[in-house]
Point group: C3
Chain length 410, copies 3
């Protein structure tokens, strides 16, 4: 391979890595924007913790658990190697990954993905989880659960052998986070005031819709790298197709959610529009490289409908998910994974069943893991802050700080 092509590929992958990193700013804005100002510092703290600790854990062992993973004759379930000691021979040459990138780029791109799963949980459990419990959960979930599941498919494990397809992580990233979010909000219970005495849900409005909106736009931007980089090279045809399907699904998701929510609630709800965009993005992620633009629009549009119905369902189940994380990441993550069997180059009954098995196996593993980790934490140190702390806000109690002291201390 010539040096120009190798270099151009690696440039693309490094910039995709930068864009995925920037998604953490998007998540931070989205999560604080959709929650109350009294818990802002706490949410930001959790997100900063996740990015830094998540990357260090992935450096310490996650990357090697997930890749290269499986030696000849291994079980295909666990794999270790040793990042940081020595690059593999030829790791910096085109031999490493068909000239798509270097070993260092590989690590950093994947490391930026790793923290995302825990970030998804962070939004769902906001405004009531104990910071200590959340930090321990993050370390175990990002450090172990995420790379184990990742290895099953992207590390060349059994899901990969079966033909399960998940291009950039509708299941492997978004649902992995979403399942834990679901378990966590079930174990935590709803925020004080979320459900009235009649059992009806009450809106608890987020404190900064501008930041939430910016968060979604930044996430969309980041998805250029999340999906575009998952091509694992800068192949002009495939990367540009992926960007087109990704953006069209995002746009269609937003419009779908806007239309359905306006019909259902007679109200032009900006947060539904925004979550519809995210739903479209998560929905296209499993098959962004397989779909035509028309199929991407359909997948996105349906994801937008699913968002509106999913949010209503979560409310019906008396679960409290302040930012809609379960709907966005889990439900449309499942939708996107199954859509690979319904649309695009791999569509077919066999593929659909394989996708379904993949969803169920990953779901079972994540739910069980999350139950064990969070259940143990609940038993040992508790998951939830005191009633007093919840009412007064986690910022003052856990961090001794106020996010906007010039505006709230008057």
């Amino acid at each position: 391979m010539d040096a120009g092509l190798f270099t151009a590929n690696n440039v693309w992958m490094m910039l995709a890595t930068a864009l995925v990193f920037f998604m953490h700013t998007g998540f931070a804005f989205l999560e604080i924007g959709l929650t109350r100002q009294k818990n802002t510092i706490n949410i930001l703290f959790k997100n900063i913790f996740i990015i830094t600790v998540g990357l260090l854990l992935y450096y310490a062992w996650g990357f090697n658990m997930m890749y290269p993973g499986f030696e000849e004759g291994s079980s295909g379930i666990f794999g270790f190697a040793g990042f940081g000691i020595d690059a593999p021979e030829g790791g910096m040459t085109p031999d490493y990954a068909d000239g798509g990138y270097t070993w260092w780029t590989d690590f950093l791109f994947q490391g930026m993905f790793a923290a995302t799963a825990a970030t998804i949980v962070s939004g769902a459990v906001a405004e009531r989880i104990k910071i200590g419990s959340f930090m321990i959960f993050t370390v175990i979930y990002v450090g172990l659960v995420y790379p184990i599941v990742g290895a099953w498919k992207w590390g060349g494990g059994f899901l990969d052998s079966w033909g399960f397809y998940d291009f950039a992580g509708s299941t492997l990233v978004h649902s992995v986070g979403g399942w834990a979010a679901l378990v966590a909000i079930f174990l935590l219970g709803s925020r004080i005031g979320k459900f009235g005495e009649d059992g009806k849900p009450k809106a608890i409005p987020g404190h900064s819709i501008p930041l939430a909106t910016a968060g979604v736009l930044i996430l969309w931007l980041g998805w250029f790298g999340f999906n575009g980089g998952s091509v694992l090279s800068a192949d002009p045809e495939l990367t540009s197709l992926v960007l087109v399907t990704t953006s069209l699904a995002a746009a269609a998701g937003g419009v779908g959610a806007f239309i359905l929510s306006t019909i259902m609630y007679k109200n032009m709800d900006l947060t539904m529009f925004l979550n519809g965009i995210l739903g479209g993005l998560v929905g296209i992620t499993a098959g962004a490289d397989l779909m035509s633009p028309n199929e991407a629009v359909i997948i996105g549009l349906l994801a937008g409908f699913i968002i509106v119905l999913g949010v209503a369902l979560i409310d019906k189940l008396k679960l409290d998910d302040p930012v809609g994380a379960v709907t966005v990441h889990l439900i449309t993550g499942i939708w996107g994974t199954l859509a690979v069997g319904l649309f695009g180059d791999k569509a077919g009954a066999g593929q659909f069943m394989t996708q379904l098995y993949g969803v169920l196996i990953v779901g079972a593993f994540c739910v069980v893991s999350a139950f064990i980790i969070l259940g143990a934490l609940k038993a040992i140190m508790g998951l939830r802050v005191s009633k007093e702390e919840e009412v007064e806000g986690l910022d003052i109690h856990e961090h001794g700080m106020d996010a906007y002291p010039d505006f709230t201390n008057d």
Copy 2:
């Protein structure tokens, strides 16, 4: 062409696309920052609508109206093709666009431009337009007017044949938006309280100058892609020249507006400084590839002066443009287009006249189109919200939401 060069070109174009997409975050921040908090949700909603619907319209027919446009022997006025059905033969190879990018990249880059015209209008009409009327206007203006005008030059139509030059859209994007903004604020009238009983304009301060400032910095960043990508390849000499002229014009525009506004008003006005930067950017856009750095500084500096004078002129005309969109996008858009005849590689009396004809023809078409669309909407459903809604804010009335409930509901 070798694969490395094609790939590097396409990487540049895809990242330019990402940067142009990010400009929508910049516009959103700028527009809400310079208006009142009670209309924030409404402005964000309009912007999110524009991005998603604009992209889908461009996918449905805009791209094909604008490109490839003109078959042999066609009239050179309308052109259709059929995006989403099939890529043109060779659309993913270096044959498509001299190796500059793929057909998918082409679509997405141009699609990100398309929504910009309506976004410009969004700022000017803020705080008083009916959301329904605005949405219908956007669909027609982005869906039809923008690609028709674009086809005249970039699609190889008659303006192109005449030798009209507009590198990245001082006229084709910014003025197209600016003319509609001018018509719209004329038809809408000024906000309640903007002009006193004595007819003197009163400042209605924007609610978040930090977001407005971030918006301008993000727009400047986005212009790296807007102008840099308009080279339509990653040609090292031309792309790097374009980035230099773009940034120097931005800097000089800011400084020009700062100096003149400080002299005129004895006050160091941050929003003038910011609008001066935008003026410099819009001003250099028509000829960013033709100018030397020295010429870019002159064009930018004059654009900065024009901004200060233009804002005063709009006030004098008793027009109410909350974010200065007409001045920034229309007046400096005209200046930038004419500057191609005064400075740089194409300077000359003949070119100047061609530029002037282009400005006038595009202006006439946009003004007439905008009058027809907005006039019809005014007659049928009205353009302006009720007085009560305007006073209480559009957020509560149109969206049932508050942008900052923790701070305003006390």
Copy 3:
């Protein structure tokens, strides 16, 4: 060199330039976030002034003072050339910089660095400096001091001949800014209310921790370009290594500061976590291309500890640095520069001493320069605003504007 490689290299360098430009948004958010709302416009104004004027000064003469700098037989102290008149012969070809980038890209990348030094000072002197004095200081410091010091190493001057190593500017950018910040806060004195009558420091909380947090994340993102671009080509091995060491040091710096501050103050302080990330970034900057990932983690972790101790030290010295700029940029800048002698490919006693000499010489020159400039300004026009202005806020007094009028005018 083939066109593909040259183009890919130049694409990387142009995007690195864009990322460094984006750092100014990060600095702006960080600085206003950590200070009070009444001084927000003033800080933003200073930052916008620095970016625009800094770039124009670098265009007018800074670039030529710093590069190419030294003709055969020159003193190696000053160098002039003439940007904007003519590109050097071959400046747009691979001959210019081993195919790493064009002359235009070179100028713009270095120009984006130039403004950073003054931006660092901006944070430290916030909330009490006269805007006029600050602007004059900026012009002289960015226009003269920065390029002179830069020429000593990056322009091929005497520090370079001695073997002093500073990959991306722990000393040449961050300490240059940090020394001036130190001198400035010494000459200015502390803000009213920072030290009680008992001499004990009191926290003056920043008004928007969300913006401060976003600022740090944007700075981290920008560092992908700051360090990654300092490779001066897109060499796959070296650029990807640099991104890995940079991100790991950032993560470790955050975690280090978090751990030590939690132990020392029994409080999970988000701003310490954030400054720890910045400390890790500044700390790795001098040797980002020389370190293994393990060494990067160690350097970052120690930088995180240094941040916590440094902030305590500055307080002890009764200096008032609202954003911690001296600790972040000067103290960890020194640490990073010395670390090149302790870790990585160049480690050794000789290198350590060379690094130390470099730190001291640059420090002496910057301190003396800053004392002369700021001392003269203090004598002639004063450095500090009136007591009344400081209490009421600089925004109203210097700019006649309020950053958040809808929230503060009630």
